[in-house]
């Protein structure tokens, strides 16, 4: 394997370059996935049937906490990648662990939020609006959940194998994924919650 030392480790081999480009294209597909979900949500937003509307069930507190947790985690994983580029394995692992903890916190609040919705009678089956809401949020939540397991697997590999072209490549791609989820959340926060509460 040819290693180009003038580049950061995650870009240093040809295979790594391929993987990063491939992942960017995958994120393009993910954008389409969420764009379709948003389209579906905006189409069904006001079709509440006999169920509650968004303004009736949205609560600002858990949503704000979730937003702060996820945005912070996105910042922290950036620090993690910075530490990785400096070759500081320990700092990087700490930042990645904090990222995952914040992600887990986000997920905890989201589960609380879902329980709340079901409690006030906005279940998956209630109306087109509730189904659209829970599906859109749920898809994002599933992505975060998947990310948690993925992140843990990467942390274990870094602990065992150190910062190699492979582990850094995986970490970098994971950070792209995590930032992407953050961007999606900003859209969810602005166009589902804020717009819905107005």
């Amino acid at each position: 394997m040819k290693i180009d030392n003038s580049l950061p480790l995650e870009y240093s081999t040809e295979e790594n370059n391929l993987k990063i480009l491939g992942f960017w294209i995958f994120l393009g597909a993910e954008i389409m996935l969420f764009a379709t979900l948003f389209t579906m949500y905006f189409t069904l937003e006001n079709r509440i049937g006999n169920g509650p509307s968004g303004a009736e069930i949205f609560e600002i507190t858990p949503v704000l906490v979730e937003t702060i947790l996820l945005l912070t985690s996105s910042f922290v994983i950036g620090l993690g990648i910075h530490a990785m580029r400096l070759g500081n394995k320990k700092a990087m692992m700490i930042f990645f662990s904090i990222t995952l903890l914040l992600g887990a916190g986000f997920l905890g609040f989201e589960i609380y939020e879902f329980v709340h919705y079901i409690h006030v009678g906005a279940t998956l089956q209630t109306s087109a609006f509730t189904a659209a809401l829970l599906t859109t949020l749920g898809t994002h939540g599933l992505h975060v959940t998947f990310g948690l397991f993925w992140g843990i697997a990467i942390l274990i590999q870094i602990k065992k194998r150190g910062l190699t072209p492979e582990t850094t490549n995986k970490s970098f791609i994971f950070s792209l994924y995590w930032h992407f989820l953050d961007v999606i959340w900003i859209f969810i926060f602005s166009f589902i919650y804020l717009k819905g509460m107005m």
Partner: protein, 649 residues
């Protein structure tokens, strides 16, 4: 026994029982055959675990041919049912199932794997690469696709076929109107196969962007690679829509949500819109690679450069953008209003412009060319007039006001078969004939090949031109019978005869393969057609590593320049080559997906959860696996090269 009742076919008939027996016997015969000839190990080592793009391509080809015959039998059954008024060969329920599976099988499980076969086999060879960017993902793509195909195809003997049309419009497709599990199969089998297509889309884009031979700028790629690139960009942007759509449909059917229902706020038109936001680009995913193949074939047999290379590329890009902007034309009559319809009418007609540019480019390539009428060229020459006819009726359908007359009639059926058969199917068979010697080291018989092409075209004209007429006279599509007083019977009989002739032509294709295996010369060299691009520059059969030395490219037809104009393709000396290892996990993951899909179709939740954990487990295993591939040594390469060069003489 209640548990097993759900697997029974809800609407059985003699034909279904007969095919159950047939499938059972075939399976037993295959298993016994492989065991008798002791081929299990060979099958596992050389095919199931392979990550070689050429072998994966050939597996796609096998699936496509198999499905061509499955879908073809459906087609002949439909034509026979309609050949006489008040025919009782199929009842209405069976007719529904047959046209639904015919549509899905032909589009998603025949045409899609056929083009994916060409993507797999040709892209790395045309750009001078050793494999695709992610060989294992490529294997995974195939196995996901294969398992989705398998799951879909067992539907008619386990639980019942889908019967809501290939478009599966809601509310028809909901639990109330489609109570059998057939539509569950539709939602889940296509989801699994679609996942495979998505992954291969990402794979091919990365391959084309990053792995081209030195000197091959984007504007120096062979035209097929360009068309494949654009088609895969469309795949990556259109298939996520399908993913969401099928997931929502699954939730409506399995979890009682209200996305597409008619109460509690549900909106059935949302399905139709989202379906065609995916469905229309899908049409161009099929036709653009077909255009790419025609470009290769016409340039080769006109012995000229492709006319208007840049305008070919630009027109494909324009088509790919427009393909996302026309979806409403599939349901002009479903209440959008005049303004919306007008806009989509105009965008639809606008697509005819870049397509027309391509047709003229092919004609100008032929102009003053030294045309050689081989079988692939014959298909291309039949394609141009027949496809243009289909395009013109497409413009007729695009006029939204006039569409009220044609909508849901046989006119539409005639139109889309008129573009798909001469457009896609001819390209697939022409391409297959063209690349057959590269894959298998002998050519298909030209005489039988030309007979096949002419028979297919005669059959095609007889089968589909009458539909234009009955459609204008008001014969609705998807009706399982009609009365004698309608006067449709004569033309439908002609159509059935045409379908029969087409069936004979496909049988002739199979006979041609058999005949050529037995009698064709093996002494054909590496370049039997005197062709123009890189795939012909390597040996036949293509060695595992494709090219011993990475080729240097300076023009759009590097190999032609190397043959005629003294361009040097292979500079430098042989170095050791890095290749990926074979792996069994794509197949295993595919199998787990199959069981997961089956559990979802029948709502067997414990099994679904267990298999879902299995899928995640496979991913974790893969994440921790260390695999740096292997190297082929210089001696080994030189030995292979010497052997292949010797075999040439």
């Amino acid at each position: 026994m209640d548990f097993f009742d759900r697997f029974a076919v809800p609407h059985p008939s003699f034909l279904i029982y007969a095919s159950m027996v047939g499938i059972g016997l075939t399976m037993i015969a295959i298993v016994l055959g492989i065991t008798y000839f002791k081929k299990w190990g060979y099958l596992w080592r050389e095919w199931i675990t392979t990550v070689d793009h050429k072998r994966i391509g050939i597996m796609y080809l096998l699936v496509a041919l198999l499905m061509l015959f499955r879908g073809g039998v459906d087609a002949v059954m439909m034509r026979y049912q309609l050949s006489m008024p008040d025919n009782t060969f199929l009842d209405s329920q069976h007719y529904n199932e047959v046209f639904t599976t015919h549509g899905i099988v032909m589009i998603l499980f025949m045409a899609m794997p056929f083009i994916t076969f060409f993507f797999n086999y040709l892209i790395p060879l045309q750009i001078g690469a050793r494999d695709v960017a992610f060989p294992r993902l490529n294997a995974l793509s195939f196995w996901l696709f294969f398992m989705g195909m398998g799951l879909f195809n067992i539907s008619f003997i386990v639980g019942g076929s889908p019967d809501a049309g290939w478009t599966s419009y809601f509310p028809l497709a909901n639990n109330e109107f489609s109570p059998s599990v057939g539509t569950n199969y539709y939602m889940i089998a296509i989801q699994i196969a679609g996942l495979g297509t998505m992954i291969s889309g990402i794979n091919f884009i990365t391959t084309i962007l990053k792995m081209r031979a030195p000197g091959m700028k984007l504007m120096k790629m062979p035209m097929f690679t360009w068309s494949a690139f654009i088609a895969n960009v469309i795949v990556v942007f259109a298939f996520p829509v399908l993913t969401v759509l099928l997931a929502l449909g699954t939730m409506d059917r399995l979890f009682g949500t209200n996305f597409f229902t008619t109460d509690n706020g549900g909106m059935d038109m949302l399905w139709a819109n989202l379906f065609w936001v995916w469905g229309h680009p899908e049409v161009y995913i099929l036709i653009l690679p077909a255009f790419g193949l025609y470009s290769e074939i016409i340039a080769t047999f006109a012995r000229r450069n492709l006319y208007g290379y840049k305008s070919m590329v630009v027109s494909m890009v324009v088509i790919s953008v427009f393909s996302f902007l026309v979806w409403t034309h599939h349901f002009f009559t479903m209440g959008q209003g005049a303004f919306t319809n007008s806009i989509f009418s105009i965008t639809t007609m606008a697509i005819a412009i870049p397509t027309g540019v391509k047709i003229f480019n092919w004609l100008f390539t032929l102009w003053k060319g030294k045309i050689i009428f081989t079988t692939p060229m014959l298909y291309s020459m039949l394609f141009i007039p027949l496809f243009t006819l289909g395009g013109v009726t497409g413009v007729m359908l695009a006029m939204s006001a006039a569409d009220y007359q044609y909508h849901n009639t046989m006119f539409l059926v005639a139109h889309f078969h008129n573009v798909i058969i001469p457009g896609v199917v001819y390209a697939m068979i022409a391409g297959l004939t063209f690349y057959w010697p590269k894959m298998f080291g002998f050519m298909l018989n030209e005489r039988i090949g030309k007979w096949t092409a002419w028979l297919m075209s005669v059959g095609f004209v007889l089968a589909f031109i009458p539909m234009y007429i009955t459609g204008l006279d008001g014969q609705a599509r998807r009706m399982y019978t009609y009365s004698e007083s309608t006067g449709f019977s004569m033309l439908n009989m002609v159509s059935f005869i045409g379908a029969g002739i087409m069936a004979i032509s496909f049988a002739l294709l199979v006979y041609n393969i058999y005949y050529s295996i037995r009698y064709a010369s093996r002494d054909i060299g590496n370049d039997p057609w005197d062709a123009r691009s890189l795939e012909w520059a390597t040996h036949t059969p293509v060695p595992e590593y494709n090219f011993a030395i990475t080729p240097q490219v300076a023009s759009t037809q590097a190999f032609w320049d190397a043959k005629k104009n003294g361009h040097e393709l292979f500079k430098g000396k042989i170095e050791k080559i890095h290749m990926p290892n074979n792996s069994g996990w794509p197949f295993i993951l595919g199998c787990i997906f199959f069981v997961f899909g089956f559990a979802m179709v029948f709502s067997i939740w414990p099994l679904a959860i267990v298999t879902l954990i299995g899928i995640l487990g496979c991913l974790v295993y893969r994440s921790f696996e260390k695999d740096h591939g292997r190297y082929i040594s210089v001696e080994e390469i030189e030995e292979t090269e010497a052997k292949l060069r010797g075999a040439k003489k």
